[in-house]
Symmetry: C2
Subunit: 379 residues, 2 copies
């Protein structure tokens, strides 16, 4: 293989493929990026066996020509060095040429790198997926959904399914759920798909989604999502993102969410957020993240936090409205703050069902998002 290619375009492609490459893989060839030159352009592939990314640079498009192809072929070069080298090359274009069986020269202006690689025949093949379970949604919406749920996955491997985010579709509505069993984040959204499509228990690893959201931009372009039993594929413009699915049964979460509350508080998202951040200064020190909330018949709620070593804090927030019984509950401030940070609405409602029962936070201006939290036993 032998090409001269626009440096800027090539760097972007290499960076995308590189996102899937992990330096901690046990399979040496997966530390490499596979480069395939064919008549219509260049394909770059990176993989850590959980996630695979395939990105394509066309030979040319309406705007410009991106490369001159002298010879087709393929090779695998060490991602860590290759991505750094192409980024630091001096010229507007760079030339990539196979040099011997597994090595390459990368040259630009007065610089020549000679880089060792791997045998491309040993690089694993990406899966071919059956396209019968398919839906589409815009880039920016998928990015939002990930941001608003993935923080709630479990970081502990004791229940592997909880390290993933569950996707289900019914009546052209996508429900996305993550929980670590102490808190739950759920987002629903309409998607474009066949009316009859039903998807259940599709658990995508949280890490895969975090990686995916780094590639998604805020555009209105559509992502096509293809689901199989063991894999999911996100098809974007010139980029394929594969992830394995987690095995196992995601907990049934729909019946966990209380429909009615004993106390409902409506207030400013920002006021609650700032108040919890202050209270966390002490709760974090006490290592239990416990914050107390109380309402006693006034129009204010009271937030308190105590660290026996450091001190204590008490503050009041003026609510828009407090309905129902007096309230007193202790909760994990960090979990609640994580959720508040993903809420883009100005005002929220907090619904409590008792001191020892889970409570719910919802945006006030739509019904597409629910956050559920277990209380903390103090005493």
């Amino acid at each position: 293989m032998h090409i001269t290619i626009d440096s800027h375009t090539f760097i972007t492609g290499v960076q995308h493929a590189n996102k899937a490459v992990s330096s901690r893989t046990t399979i040496p060839i997966l530390t490499g990026i596979k480069i395939q030159v064919h008549t219509d352009g260049v394909t770059l592939i990176g993989s850590d066996s959980d996630v695979s990314i395939e990105t394509f640079i066309p030979k040319s498009d309406e705007e410009q020509s991106y490369m001159t192809i002298y010879e087709e072929g393929e090779m695998v070069l060490q991602a860590k060095y290759f991505s750094e080298i192409v980024r630091k090359m001096p010229g507007e274009t760079l030339t990539l040429k196979k040099d011997g069986n597994m090595a390459a020269t990368i040259s630009s202006e007065n610089v020549i790198f000679h880089l060792n690689g791997f045998d491309p025949d040993n690089y694993p093949k990406l899966p071919q997926l059956e396209e019968d379970q398919v839906f589409t949604l815009p880039y920016h919406l998928l990015k939002d959904i990930i941001r608003q749920t993935v923080f709630a996955v479990s970081t502990q491997e004791t229940r592997p399914v909880l390290t993933g985010v569950n996707f289900s579709i019914n009546n052209q509505e996508l429900t996305v759920t993550a929980t670590d069993s102490h808190r739950l984040a759920m987002r629903t959204v309409g998607v474009e798909t066949e009316e009859t499509l039903e998807i259940n228990n599709v658990i995508i690893p949280g890490k895969s989604l975090t990686e995916l959201s780094r590639i998604l931009d805020d555009s209105e372009d559509m992502v096509t999502v293809i689901v199989t039993k063991t894999q999911v594929l996100f098809k974007m413009k010139n980029l394929l993102f594969f992830s394995r699915l987690l095995e196992g049964k995601f907990p049934l979460t729909s019946n966990m969410i209380p429909s009615e509350g004993k106390t409902t508080v409506t207030l400013s998202t920002k006021a609650l957020n700032q108040s919890l951040e202050r209270a966390m200064l002490l709760s974090r020190e006490a290592k239990n993240n416990v914050i107390h909330i109380k309402s006693t018949g006034t129009t204010e709620i009271e937030i308190t936090s105590i660290s026996s070593e450091v001190g204590k804090v008490k503050e009041s927030i003026e609510a828009d409205e407090i309905k129902g019984e007096d309230l007193q509950i202790a909760f994990n401030g960090k979990n609640t703050l994580d959720a508040l940070k993903t809420l883009d609405t100005e005002r929220i409602s907090l619904m409590f069902t008792g001191t020892m029962s889970p409570f719910v936070i919802r945006p006030l201006d739509h019904q597409q998002m629910i956050h559920l939290f277990s209380p903390v036993r103090t005493s």
Copy 2:
């Protein structure tokens, strides 16, 4: 003590004092910030026993009044929490009030923190220094000098004096030197002082200078530097920065710098910098940081680097001028890059005295800076 103070001004003061506080101190009270309220304003003190910072907020200046003082007094509050709390307070002003023997309340709008502290009588006294060895220079110049030398100090404690930067004054000229015995950075600059002042072997810990440079801005304001046998004090506007000095004898460096070279190369700083950064991609991998440079009678120098596992790179740089013998030398690329990054001049001269002798890099447009490097033995 009891004051209400402008939040913004107070936060800045607390942040300055906090820079001297280390969480790893073995003396518990030094995890605190000392706050002294007196008739003319507030003094804040932080210290880790190597460095102490005292900052003063006047009651008012020409522009505005910063505080209302209800009661004088002093206390010591835990720096880590106190600095975070004042930063997160909601209002334009905050009120600080002694509450019991060693605790305080910090309040602003609807928020009240109660914070435990230490007995202020136990806080160590800052030294009173004799002001007979004194010189002054502008903030921005002191900041530059630190940046251009401190990177070259040793990080190993085997020869403690080399972890410091040596200051000496002769004929109203300050010479600042740092070396880890493989490389040396020296900067000279004229300072305002008495003609007769001679200072020798004043070794300031590199860590102290790094901390000081974070406080210095690029202004033309003058810093007064007061030197004693064991301490140095940098006096700035409303801020005192104390550092202990290192004991021992700094190596005599003036005779290490060769006066004449066998080969002299003049070239672009940026071209050499970018070339070394590329070569380092492989040298860093080889773990020895070795880069080779060669000139062979043309107008170009050749830079090469090899990692047996990863590959190799070769590039040429067009020099402005090459004088003297042909040249071939191996050196530590990281050390040279560190120095190049502090050189603000567009063109530099490299002076070589042989394959196994140290070489010198100087800016082309002034004589106030010298970088010296040992070659590396290969083969």
